[in-house]
Symmetry: C2
Subunit: 395 residues, 2 copies
């Protein structure tokens, strides 16, 4: 048995989160794609079955009250809140990340006021954020300016209305400096909007602590909510009264069942709701979030860094020199919970990894991407993945 | 046994759709609230269980291809298409009705062009449509003008950009004249947007035949997709190339996995997609739509009118004179698939109806609303509901 295998076993034995794996449905595959679609929490199938057969099938319309359907968006938001460092009453769940980006950027521009005509957007962003920011700019008469996150402080001015940034880069796994960038945006009098898709559930975000203004995120990656599960919107409490949504659906009305012709926004985070909430997906997500009940996000972060450190060590040991290059920063403060490796013929390599039971994903043109979900990935998984990668690249 | 009971039994015996009831999960309740939340189709629980346990739990990320997740929005749109008289390739499913109203009204204004500065909206509409139209007007620099549907022809002018109308009024059940109003809008050079929430699945809509431009609808009423199931967007084929969405998410990109910084809209109905599709809810809806496989929407309409006619006849026979007044038009051409009765103390009356096993709903201030879903409501149900109403109003 190699030294690294022994190390992995010892690390697993000392892992305070090791017991969490039993709360997921997993097989002998090493699943390093939880940064794309989280694994199924074991309590979800029974919950969904109950929602379908009893709540919908038997109670039918009564479930809007009796099964708590109506309040699900804000109730589930409050479940996500501690994971991203937010006090209760600031997050609602619903719609896709893209739709929430649109709400947030338009609302940010409106909060910033008429005198500010520029929106800055992360030039390295997941494309949908850029497309939605472009539409928000077009529809509010602002100019969209893509900048590298590190260059945001220099790009800020009294023209800046809003700044849309990704907490972690979806390709490289680079973690951007949320506290410093948020402070710079605030100092410039602009409104910050953070996309947490690739950080929420993998590391502490500290929305309240760092005085982030608005944030959005998906729930199907590290939060394991299921394929395309609803996204969420965070509106800082002090901004809720001035949050002016471009999508003022009846669910965000102060009196939704008043059926009034004139729109009057609800107080609080509920103002971020739009249409009728999608109950099946929401309640599957609610069940999925229960695995977090006794978990500290700081423990998750510690394990995440240990996993990615150990993966890089194993890659270094097993993979022939020069066959891969790490695109993810080595500095802990700049690293999310994934490792991206540049590799010739990466598409074929990933296909072979998957065929041999190690699932990551391929990003064109030449990147192998591995996500490390601390709730269910262990150190022996990591060693096995790196060893297989080494074997494939030897031949 | 009364004459009406015998008539009801005879009508049920001759009902070509009577067998459909067995495809739903129903108990001895008379469920006349399918115009709010359709009953559970019996094949849905097993399908959802498979989506959760096998597609998500076992195949995980592979299901985006292998389980057809990626193409669900347009595939399910093609299942809805025949029910609303649309050829394939014009409907995508996803997002809420409210969000789709926003997409459609903004896109309609853009199609109409710069010279037209007014949006007409049904003054009697379900409120969310009005709120979203107001936002669309604000964000495109147009003026919103509420008008009664019957007055739309007179209100149209060369200033009219778009007209948003409900096919059936959610309170009274009045059916508006979609063919004539659409023709009038077209003749004025404006773009028509129809909300089909209260008609799709209950009666023929004829989107293609009547040359409707854009349409939206929910899927949780007569289409039985489940609580808050995803809505749909119809974009007439000839307008697809000029459909310019205000919500250009990565799923509507011509090359979504190219991850390109510049947005380029996909051809076809797919252009109406936004973010990652919500798979659990979409595939529950897909299963629910299978009950329509051998159903003619014309047969549904015939039964719907027979049900509401018979209900009114029974109400007339059982309910003491003057205790209720019908708000729904008696003309077949002006009637959807619900009956609204004005009734003193309607809130209490509805509570008592529900307590005795007849479920409709109450609309403030004084309306009893009964929906008739031809796939699972029978004539004996209707007789029982009217008889109970009569008994309650006698005492």
């Amino acid at each position: 048995m190699s030294e690294l295998v022994r190390r992995a076993e010892k690390l697993d034995a000392g892992d305070p989160l090791a017991g969490k794996r039993a709360q997921f449905v997993l097989d002998d595959v090493v699943y390093l794609d939880g940064n794309s679609l989280g694994a199924l929490p074991a309590n979800v199938p029974a919950r969904v079955a109950d929602v379908v057969a009893r709540q919908w099938g038997e109670l039918r319309i009564r479930s809007w009250d009796e099964s708590g359907w109506w309040t699900a968006p804000e109730r589930i938001g409050d479940r996500i809140a501690p994971l991203v460092g937010a006090a209760a009453g600031q997050i609602v769940v619903g719609d896709s990340t893209s739709v929430n980006v649109f709400k947030a950027v338009v609302a940010a521009v409106r909060i910033a006021g008429d005198g500010r005509d520029e929106i800055l957007v992360d030039a390295t962003t997941f494309p949908t954020d850029g497309y939605m920011a472009e539409s928000a700019a077009r529809m509010t008469g602002r100019t969209l300016r893509p900048v590298e996150p590190a260059e945001v402080p220099d790009a800020l001015s009294d023209r800046t209305a809003a700044v849309l940034l990704n907490h972690a880069d979806y390709r490289t796994g680079r973690l951007h400096d949320l506290p410093a960038l948020t402070a710079a945006v605030r100092a410039a009098g602009a409104v910050s909007v953070w996309d947490l898709c690739h950080s929420a559930g993998a590391l502490p975000v500290g929305l309240d602590e760092h005085e982030v203004d608005l944030a959005v995120g998906c729930t199907y990656k590290y939060l394991n909510g299921g394929p395309g599960s609803p996204a969420y919107l965070y509106v800082r409490r002090s901004l809720q009264d001035v949050f002016d949504s471009p999508l003022p659906g009846w669910n965000s009305h102060a009196e939704p069942f008043g059926m009034r012709p004139a729109y009057e926004p609800a107080p609080g985070a509920v103002r971020g709701r739009v249409g009728t909430p999608d109950i099946l997906s929401l309640l599957a997500l609610e069940a999925a979030l229960e695995v977090w009940e006794d978990v500290s996000i700081h423990a998750v972060r510690a394990k995440s860094l240990a996993l990615t450190d150990f993966f890089l060590e194993c890659v270094d040991a097993y993979v022939p020199d020069g066959r891969v290059a790490c695109l993810t920063p080595l500095e802990h403060g700049e690293r999310g919970s994934q490792i991206a490796l540049r590799c010739d013929d990466a598409s074929t390599v990933m296909r072979r990894l998957i065929a041999h039971g190690v699932v990551g994903d391929f990003r064109p043109p030449n990147t192998l991407r591995f996500g490390f979900t601390p709730l269910y990935v262990g150190f022996t998984d990591v060693e096995r993945a790196a060893r297989l990668l080494g074997e494939l690249l030897l031949t």
